[in-house]
């Protein structure tokens, strides 16, 4: 398990230094994990689709870093980074992508269906937009039972053009549910740029139509993401839905095998200058009196954790064939 000091993260407060180092470690861990997956996929050790989070690490770490343990998290299929942020052991993440019994979802779900309900992570979901009504229902259940939990629902820009998005946003306002809607606007849904698929390019405007308070924030700078999330989680706990649009960019293709005919290399290079890990590192070095040595140490630690996780997953067992019908029904 990632070394977390969640208790220090009081909502509404800015991060202390330990938290920052934790989150730096987490973002590097996500980056190294995704890089490893890229290689493992080419080696044929991972099947299916592989949607990498590289470039978007500040979103997951910043948003989930600011949550309280009772807050639920649910997201789409680009879920490896979110899983790490929720505290899932990289061992069980790698094992899931290898289809092993020790995986988060017992090798049944794969890359797109990581989840650990003990850690309040309710999954990656592969049907675009489909998890948004699920978030609505979870928040409804929490409110029904008088809990002060918030449901944090992350989704892509592309998902905001479908019916599920609009139905879920509307109902969350009508029922006044504790949901933080988080749009990871990485500018594309597969190869379709936001302006080619959405009538408004500022996605937060869609929340306006439902009378929902909203904000658009730089998603490459984890400090801004964390601050906006902490503040708005408080608001949601008191007042109901809030819509947060985070501006980010995916540095890799949509999935492995994306020919990337829809964007120029220059555009990718421009965004890479805003590498979320680089931005955070610069900040840590300049304002927190940290040294390169300390941060390099953290990076080395992350690297060895990933190597350990891969070793674990490689050594662990496949589900047995006679377990094929497990989990279809409860009884």
């Amino acid at each position: 398990m990632v070394n977390r000091t969640k208790s220090k993260r009081v909502a509404g407060e800015l991060m202390d230094k330990d938290t920052m180092l934790d989150l730096y470690h987490e973002m590097v861990l996500v980056r190294r994990l995704e890089e490893a997956f890229e290689t493992l996929y080419q080696e044929g050790k991972i099947g299916g689709f592989l949607h990498l989070y590289i470039g978007q690490e500040a979103v997951g770490s910043g948003v989930i870093g600011a949550r309280q343990p009772q807050d639920r998290v649910i997201t789409a299929y680009r879920d490896h980074g979110i899983a790490i942020s929720c505290g899932i052991d990289p061992k069980s993440i790698v094992a899931e992508l290898f289809g092993k019994e020790a995986g988060t979802s017992k090798g049944r779900g794969g890359s797109m269906h990581l989840g650990n309900t003990d850690l309040n992570f309710w999954g990656g979901h592969a049907i675009v937009g489909a998890h948004m009504p699920l978030a609505t229902g979870m928040a409804m259940a929490d409110k029904y039972r008088g809990s002060d939990a918030v449901t944090i629902c992350l989704f892509g820009d592309g998902a905001t053009n479908g019916g599920y998005f609009h139905e879920a946003l509307n109902l969350s306002m009508v029922w006044d549910l504790p949901i933080l809607w988080v749009c990871e606007n990485n500018q594309y849904g597969m190869g379709t740029a936001v302006e080619r698929a959405s009538a408004v390019t500022e996605i937060r405007q869609k929340a306006e139509g439902y009378g929902m308070p909203n904000e658009r924030v730089d998603g490459m700078d984890i400090l801004k993401v964390y601050e906006a999330t902490s503040k708005n989680l408080d608001l949601v706990r008191k007042n109901g839905p809030f819509f947060l649009e985070l501006m980010t960019y995916r540095f890799r293709g949509h999935s492995i095998g994306d020919p990337e005919r829809y964007r120029e290399k220059e555009e990718i290079d421009m965004w890479r200058k805003d590498d979320p890990i680089g931005i955070f590192r610069k900040h840590l070095l300049s304002t927190n009196g940290l040294t390169d040595a300390v941060l390099d140490n953290i990076e080395a630690k992350a690297q060895s954790e990933i190597e350990e996780a891969i070793k674990f997953a490689e050594a662990s067992a496949d589900p047995s064939l006679d377990s094929l019908f497990d989990y279809v029904y409860v009884d």
Binding site: G47, G48, F49, G99, K100, S105, G107, R108, G109, G110, M112, H113, A126, I127, V128, G129, G158, A159, N161, G162, G163, Y164, G189, M190, G191, T192, R196, A197, S198, P259, R261, Y262, D318, P319, L321, S323, L324, F325, V328
Partner: protein, 323 residues
């Protein structure tokens, strides 16, 4: 005759029909600039332009709904669903509208739309992305459901589907795109609603279609090396269903195995077996056998998934059981 892939055959069919008829256009997720998720429409956007090769938002309800509307207004849309699994997000438009509008308005207009959707499992895409729900669509009167298993049939059936005036679900299989086969160089149309004997034999009849046709070919060759000659009848169209060649073959071999990739319960095999018993009960020398996907949402794990899908060895075993 040229030997081309299934992908090329489907691509050529759309290209030729778009060249032939200005009212034909294609819309769907990533059909344009990307060139189609499975590269079927590569080069179309540059050639035909964005008016006729329309990228859509991720919004299946309005993809099919708008295609229905455009068809009502006289155009001939090809609506691509990135995969058949996403048809469930458009089910109301497909089932309540494509299939029913014409009848409900006493035939005042027609809905000449082709819904292209790719299905099939075996690629470790997880339970929601691996389905073969063909039988679900074949349940509804008002829809035609076509699912070819060879490049030649794919091209000829798709061209016919685009030209005729009823809503057609055209179901492709993602693991068939690389399959090669001979396709006539001249104008090539295959009628909808006609089953076809794809291999002659006398010991038993395999009734199948799409991906399982290709697996059945392999099984047939292996059985042949053991001296067993199976006849293979390819349904090609699930609705309207042409039982003619199926019944004829069954009357000759008196034994049948029905092979489908989808689940067995209420499936294609159930329909074919029931009809064979209705139409040719006296000819059965052995109980008709159905081979289908095990009744489980497909798991991600490679071996579990393969275990759930009918394999060549399963087909061979099933044939031996009815002999």
């Amino acid at each position: 005759m040229a030997v081309i892939t299934m992908r090329e055959a489907i691509s050529q069919a759309i290209w030729e029909e778009m060249e032939r008829d200005e009212d034909v256009f294609i819309m769907g997720e990533e059909v344009g600039i990307w060139g189609g998720t499975y590269a079927v429409t590569r080069g179309f956007y540059d050639h035909f332009g964005g008016e006729r090769v329309r990228d859509t938002p991720i919004a299946e309800g309005v993809i099919i709904g708008a295609a229905n509307g455009a068809a009502m207004a006289g155009l001939r849309p090809i609506a691509e669903l990135m995969t058949i699994n996403f048809a469930f997000l458009a089910m109301d438009q497909i089932v309540n509208h494509s299939a029913k509008l014409r009848l409900m308005f006493g035939g005042q207009f027609k809905i000449p739309i082709v819904i292209r959707a790719v299905g099939g499992g075996g690629r470790q895409l997880g339970a929601t992305h691996s389905q073969t729900p063909d039988a679900v669509f074949a349940h509804f009167p008002g829809l035609k459901v076509v699912s070819p298993g060879t490049p030649s049939d794919a091209k000829g059936l798709l061209k016919t589907a685009i030209r005729q005036d009823d809503p057609v679900m055209f179901i492709e299989n993602a693991t068939l795109y690389q399959v090669r086969g001979e396709v006539p160089d001249e104008e090539h149309l295959v009628p909808i609603g006609v089953s076809k004997v794809q291999r002659e034999g006398h010991d038993a009849t395999i009734v199948t279609y799409s991906k399982m046709l290709q697996k059945s070919f392999v099984a047939a060759e292996r059985l042949s090396s053991e001296g067993i000659e199976v006849e293979i009848v390819d349904l090609r169209t699930l609705r309207p269903l042409d039982m003619g060649p199926v019944v004829q073959s069954f009357k000759k071999t008196n034994r049948a195995v029905i092979v489908e990739e989808g689940w067995k319960s209420y499936g294609v095999g159930a329909e074919i077996a029931a009809r064979l018993y209705e139409e040719a009960f006296d000819y059965a020398d052995a109980p008709i056998k159905r081979l289908a996907q095990k009744e489980v949402p497909l798991p991600y794990n490679h071996d579990l998934e393969q275990h759930a899908i009918p394999q060549v060895e399963d087909i061979i075993m099933a044939v031996k059981e009815v002999l």
